[in-house]
């Protein structure tokens, strides 16, 4: 049971990481990245590191996401528009 | 044990804490900030000088932070080599800071000026900590401060090219930090400790040699990016040439060296030399890249048109020298590498500050523009020439001594090919340095290029330059002061 859960988390981590890298829309990439952070937080909890889980949830899924979004709104949203 | 056992921790911590306090002064009295920023560095320098001769007989001065003995707590461990490098760091940062007071106020203004000094102090403190620490994770922490502050300092002028160069630096630097972190994680998983001295013992009888080898490779790649070892040097020319000149001096004269020192330390203090064949072959690969760096950097430096770009490529080449000393695995080679850190720090910082003088006084960046420069800026030109002589390694300078030992070490190690590379590198250096000296002193300037009111740079900008260039001469002539103790220390390490 525990192994299955761990495996699910790991697969989800890899999938979200790849999606975040491959997404052409930067906003989508950021949102996927925040999902990645959330899964990472769950993973830390599974690894019995609640401190890290709390940090990851607050910083990874919360603060950095918003900072990324602000940065995207200040620049251009799509990758292709780069000349 | 006197009070001096507390010195290392203060040398590291005081600049960091003063950096945090500096904004308050910037808020109250903006004008005092440049002066106040010098105080902690001067304090560290004084402590460093007082520490001379106080390193105990067992070869290092350990300091247990929080009073916890080493494997449990963090230990600062200043051995002779580390102390030597800390003194270099203190000296050069102090001089670069003195130089930046006039220089930087033209490129940066307002609140950013305070931020500049804050970052400068953070960077200096982090470099000192980076050298002093005896704990691998602490090494990573200081590396992060160092990296973050240097990214920001490259971009501090805020113009598009500077930000782009800084971004390139971040793109290279951030993965390298992660690699170092991974390596630390691997080491911890294989040994269960983070203290360097403890690691040496445990690595010797660890069952997980595969993990350790990969960790070592990751360390070399990670610190190799920071040290701009040949194939990983892409960030260096842009960042070093676009950053403000005192920062270029710091990046090129110190940061790169400190990172090299980290590889040195990881190789000899942590992994205590190739216990298995793979370590040795990793070092061999590093040696080949270093040799390539010497040649590539030299050739690229000859091809450059921009003065700071040329000096930056020369740095790429000289990092190769230092690595060739480390891979020689002989006491002489290591001594040469250490002495080359001193020489390269002094000479490169001097060259970059001279370039800064040219930019500050006349706004000239291209090598062409320097024709006939000595008529108007004789002091800067002579200092530049002296430092160039040290870069080329002509006898009375420190550059000669260091390269002498590098060649000696490589002969003893039986790497004759590298000896040839070192000699060719010196010839390349001669080509790119003497071209500029020739332009400066023996070529007529362009019409109107050196006319007008402006004279040589202000004394406060010439003094650091001259201290640095005379330093190369001083340590060349009086090399017998340092070389024996360095040789001793290296024999102790091997």
């Amino acid at each position: 049971m525990g192994t299955a859960l761990n495996l699910t988390f790991i697969v989800l981590l890899v999938v979200t990481a790849l999606l975040a890298v491959l997404a052409r829309d930067l906003l989508a990439a950021v949102i996927i990245f925040s999902a990645y952070s959330l899964i990472m937080a769950l993973m830390w909890q599974r690894l019995q590191a609640p401190d890290l889980a709390l940090t990851e949830a607050a910083v990874g899924a919360g603060v950095t996401t918003v900072l990324f979004v602000v940065a995207i709104f200040k620049t251009r949203r799509r990758e292709e528009e780069e000349e | 044990m006197g009070a001096y056992r507390h010195f290392p921790v203060f040398m590291v911590t005081v600049p960091l804490v003063c950096a945090v306090l500096l904004p308050f002064l910037g808020y109250l009295r903006q004008k005092w900030v440049p002066w106040a920023a010098m105080l902690p560095l001067a304090f560290s320098s004084v402590l460093g000088l007082l520490l001379i001769g106080k390193i105990p007989a067992e070869g290092y001065l350990g300091y247990e932070l929080g009073g916890w003995p080493p494997p449990w707590g963090i230990e600062l461990r200043v051995d002779r080599v580390g102390h030597f490098l800390m003194l270099i760091v203190c000296g050069i940062t102090l001089l670069a800071l003195a130089f930046s007071r006039r220089y930087i106020s033209r490129e940066v203004s307002g609140g950013r000026l305070t931020a500049y000094y804050v970052l400068f102090l953070l960077m200096s403190g982090a470099m000192l900590g980076f050298v002093a620490t005896g704990d691998v994770f602490n090494l990573f922490v200081f590396m992060e401060i160092l990296a973050l502050s240097s990214y920001a300092l490259v971009a501090i002028t805020g113009n598009r090219n500077a930000v782009r160069a800084a971004f390139k630096y971040v793109l290279m630097g951030a993965p390298s930090s992660i690699m170092v972190l991974l390596a630390i994680g691997f080491i911890y998983s294989a040994t269960g400790t983070l203290n360097m001295a403890d690691l040496t013992l445990r690595i010797a009888d660890s069952r997980y040699s595969e993990v350790l080898i990969v960790a070592y490779i990751l360390f070399v790649i990670g610190f190799g990016v920071k040290a701009a070892l040949f194939p990983l040097h892409m960030w260096l020319p842009d960042a070093h040439s676009i950053a403000p000149s005192p920062i270029s001096a710091l990046l090129s004269g110190l940061l790169v060296e400190v990172s090299t020192f980290a590889i040195f330390r990881i190789t000899f203090s942590v992994f205590s030399m190739g216990s298995s064949g793979l370590f040795a072959s990793t070092l061999d690969a590093v040696g080949i890249f270093a040799a390539a760096a010497v040649l590539y950097g030299g050739i690229m430096a000859i091809l450059q048109k921009d003065l700071k770009m040329m000096i930056a490529y020369s740095t790429v080449s000289h990092i190769g020298y230092i690595f060739l000393g480390i891979t020689a695995m002989t006491a002489e080679g290591l001594t040469g590498a250490m002495y080359h850190m001193l020489d390269h720090g002094l000479a490169k910082a001097c060259l970059f500050l001279c370039a800064g003088n040219f930019i500050f006084v006349k706004g000239y960046r291209r090598i062409e523009d320097l024709k006939g420069a000595w008529r108007q800026m004789p002091w800067t030109c002579f200092a530049f020439a002296l430092a160039s002589i040290s870069v080329v390694a002509i006898p009375p300078t420190a550059g000669f001594i260091s390269k002498w030992y590098l060649i000696l070490g490589n002969i003893k190690g039986g790497n004759y090919a590298y000896v040839v590379v070192l000699l060719v590198g010196a010839i390349l250096a001669a080509v790119y340095c003497f071209r500029i000296i020739y332009y400066m002193f023996f070529q007529p300037g362009k019409e109107g290029a050196w006319e007008g009111e402006s004279r040589d740079a202000a004394p406060s900008m010439l003094a650091p330059v001259w201290v640095l260039s005379l330093g190369t001469l001083f340590f060349g002539i009086l090399s017998y002061l340092l070389i024996p103790s360095l040789l001793d220390a290296m024999n102790f390490l091997l």
């Binding site: 401190d51 940090t55 919360g62 900072l67 | 507390h6 804490v17 945090v20 929080g66 953070l122 294989a190």
Partner: protein
């Protein structure tokens, strides 16, 4: 192409390591059997007087690392301010205010209602750090997050009045300063730097003194971290042209 090859090589290297790493959860692992972790777990409680061993390690055993990390956070702020510049006092304008859809009464009310709870939770996280998981970093990040929510709804104008620059400015460095102060206290008490005690003076008060110092450091980290995050957000969010002027 080179990057792909490089990443593939790195991937292979990492897989190779993972295959050869000590198995997870094995009691014979170097990480589980070394005397480092043994002492942390067995004596950590009585030596650091923190019920939460993690906090004991972070703040006490490896305090210098944490001091370095705190400096990293401050350095991040300095870097952001060096590149972007701080928002000017009294004249602030942010893109949120200009968005086509101003936030509605419902959202405003709800956020105004919830943010105090979030801040309360973060205070709990900070102060409870030495008993249960949590501590300065986490609590600070939660305060930062709550202010981010507040700013996105109410705009920079409003939130920079709630947390004005003159409040943030002195607190930004509080983490490093408290750490240094506690370290210097240890030095004054006859120990080494960052000794969380006055071995010669405190005597019986020792345990409670250590706890108080730990809480002090945690509070410093929390306040400093929160202010740094908020300042970074504000300097990122501000716009160059000024439209709204605060009297």
């Amino acid at each position: 192409m080179i990057s792909l090859v490089f990443i593939a090589a790195l991937f292979a290297l990492l897989l190779y390591v993972v295959a050869n790493m000590p198995p997870m959860g094995d009691p014979d692992n170097p990480t589980n059997s070394s005397e480092v972790i043994e002492r942390y777990l067995e004596k950590g409680g009585e030596e650091t007087h923190a019920d939460n061993v993690v906090t004991g390690i972070i703040i006490n055993y490896r305090g210098y690392d944490t001091m370095g990390e705190v400096t990293v956070i401050f350095c991040a702020l300095a870097a952001v301010l060096a590149v972007l510049g701080r928002e000017r006092r009294g004249r602030i304008y942010a893109y949120v205010d200009r968005s086509r859809v101003p936030s509605s009464v419902i959202v405003r009310t709800m956020v105004a209602l919830l943010v105090p709870f979030i801040i309360l939770f973060s205070v709990y996280t900070i102060l409870h750090g030495e008993i249960s998981p949590g501590g300065g970093f986490q609590g600070g990040a939660i305060v930062g997050g709550s202010m981010i929510v507040f700013t996105t709804i109410f705009g920079l104008l409003e939130s920079s009045q709630r947390i004005p620059q003159r409040l943030r400015f002195p607190l930004e460095g509080s983490a490093v300063i408290t750490f240094f102060a506690v370290g210097a206290l240890g030095l004054a008490g006859g120990g080494n730097f960052l000794t969380f005690a006055w071995p010669e003076i405190a005597g019986n008060l020792q345990p409670s003194l250590v706890v108080w110092l730990t809480v002090l450091v945690e509070t410093g980290i929390g306040l400093g971290g929160a202010m740094v995050l908020i300042s970074i957000l504000f300097s990122m969010i501000r716009e160059e042209e000024e439209i709204a002027v605060v009297p």
